[in-house]
């Protein structure tokens, strides 16, 4: 592994101060950073350790929202009683991601910051506009089956955002709290991850030296149920080919409110707002779900090997909505 300086921060402000520009990286769990440093895709000259920061709490706010410290591990968040009870989609999404040992290490803030799994990004030599702006995209016209998107792609980049947790957060609605040299600010979760567009090297809305301190989930929708369905090449420990996180509230058999977010198919955690709107006021039937699923993929662009993701993603929506609205004994 390349050599770098190391500093352990004991406060958020100290961490931000120690982080000296683009050549610095924060390390929390390290599951993305060290993986990518070892293959020389990330090349920090200084690593700032944020494990000593007091960001390990999950706090219920008076307004019904849930404030999650950036250092809360994926395991601890998945099994937190409030998350299990009120945000099932998030608990299920977290537990569908990675492995037991990685979830123990991976953090809430780090998961938000995880990098794409595109093999052309990771191999260090292929054309990749994300790794080397202007070099091209080897995935377009290359092997683009499993970790490549059909929604939100551009001629510069088609890599999927790999997170399951973020899909659930996109469905729930959240704010990302960050601290930087100019103080604190909040970023809407749906604005945090950026579409690749003409600058796929810019992946998120953080400014240089800004650190994620918390994610604050919106209050749960009254009377709603939620679930996360992840479809993949093997039953466990694999990135999504398509996933669907849904939250649904019904009055009788009529849908009162609905949220749909998709993973494995988009270049960012993908909120399907038009599909949600199409559900509201409709009966909770397969026909309604199919119509919403079609709308969700209306603007999809299939590539040579991943056209199957469109029907797969639609079926994921239908099945997750069916599950979330099924009568319970």
């Amino acid at each position: 592994m390349r050599n770098f300086e190391y500093q352990k921060a004991d406060s958020v402000n100290a961490a931000v101060t120690a982080h000296a520009g683009q050549a610095s990286s924060f390390v929390a769990g390290g599951t993305t950073l060290l993986d990518l440093v070892k293959i020389d895709i990330m090349q920090p000259e200084r690593v700032v350790d944020v494990n000593g920061l007091p960001l390990y709490d999950v706090e219920a706010l008076d307004d019904g929202r849930l404030k999650i410290g950036a250092m809360v591990s994926n395991t601890d968040l998945a099994y937190h009683p409030t998350v299990v009870e009120k945000y099932a989609v998030l608990s299920e999404a977290l537990l569908s991601g990675a492995s037991t040992s990685l979830r123990n290490k991976a953090t809430t803030g780090g998961n938000v910051m995880q990098r794409v799994r595109c093999p052309y990004f990771r191999d260090g030599v292929s054309a990749c506009n994300k790794r080397e702006p202007g070099s091209g995209c080897a995935a377009i016209g290359g092997h683009n089956r499993s970790v490549h998107a059909v929604l939100g792609t551009s001629e510069q980049c088609i890599a999927t955002h790999p997170s399951d947790m973020c899909v659930a957060m996109a469905a729930i609605g959240a704010k990302v709290l960050v601290t930087g040299p100019n103080g604190e600010r909040e970023i809407d979760f749906l604005d945090f991850h950026l579409l690749p567009g003409d600058s796929p090297e810019k992946e998120h809305a953080l400014d240089v030296d800004e650190l994620i301190t918390h994610v604050v989930l919106d209050a749960p929708i009254e009377g709603s149920r939620s679930t996360y369905l992840k479809l993949r090449d093997r039953a466990s420990y694999q990135f999504a080919l398509a996933s669907s996180g849904v939250i649904v509230a019904t009055e009788g058999n009529t849908i009162r409110d609905a949220r749909i977010a998709l993973g494995g198919v988009g270049t960012k955690p993908w909120r399907a707002r038009e599909a949600e709107q199409a559900l509201i006021g409709e009966p909770a039937t397969e026909q309604s779900f199919k119509k919403a699923a079609e709308i969700a993929f209306k603007g999809a662009t299939p590539y040579e090997h991943n056209a199957f993701k469109i029907p797969l993603g639609q079926q994921a929506i239908v099945r997750s909505l069916t599950h979330a609205t099924a009568a319970r004994a």
Binding site: G30, T31, V47, S99, S101
Partner: protein, 166 residues
């Protein structure tokens, strides 16, 4: 943690203290030394294996403060003051740990390279109240430990036969 005078490319090694398999150990590590490399290359605890070195195989799994993690994806310097248990720390008083005995009894390996990591994850899984006790729950919880020999059936049997003994 304190910096020492040792330097590589102008970057100093750091002195950290671990509670390793019940013993206090003070070691000097460079910032880029992983916990796995510290264990194997500096402390010669070679029971923990390097498989993929990228968190994909689980061969390097160890316990940190009672929680199983991939030691290849953690910097040693991040573990100052931590309690680390490796496969060498499983047995007590010369007696095999129940999971070790079960791996022998159930023939839960062929080449044995993944075995240390399998057992470290297994002991965590068996002690975690939030992980179910069904075969499916164990398969899911241990899916991050890859066995190239394909001894999964016997690994599952070894884990399940140890239930209640740890």
């Amino acid at each position: 943690m304190s910096e020492t005078s040792t330097a590589a490319g102008g970057i100093s090694a750091c002195s950290i203290t671990l509670q390793l398999n019940g013993q206090r150990r003070e070691v000097e590590v460079y910032p880029w030394t992983t916990l796995l490399d510290l264990l194997r290359e500096q402390l010669h605890l070679t029971g923990t294996k390097k498989g993929c070195d990228h968190g994909q195989c689980g061969a390097c799994n160890v316990h940190v403060n009672g929680t199983v993690i991939n030691s290849c994806l953690s910097l040693a310097v991040m573990h100052d003051g931590d309690e680390i248990t490796t496969v060498e720390g499983l047995s007590e008083n010369g007696e095999l740990h129940p999971i070790q005995q079960a791996f022998l009894d159930e023939d839960a390996y062929q080449c044995g390279y993944c075995t240390a990591g399998q057992m470290m994850t297994a002991t965590y899984v068996l002690n975690s109240s939030h992980i179910g006790d069904s075969d499916d729950a164990v398969r899911e919880a241990m899916s991050g430990n890859i066995c190239r020999c394909g001894a999964y059936k016997n690994i599952l049997a070894a884990v399940q036969s140890t239930r209640g003994k740890v």
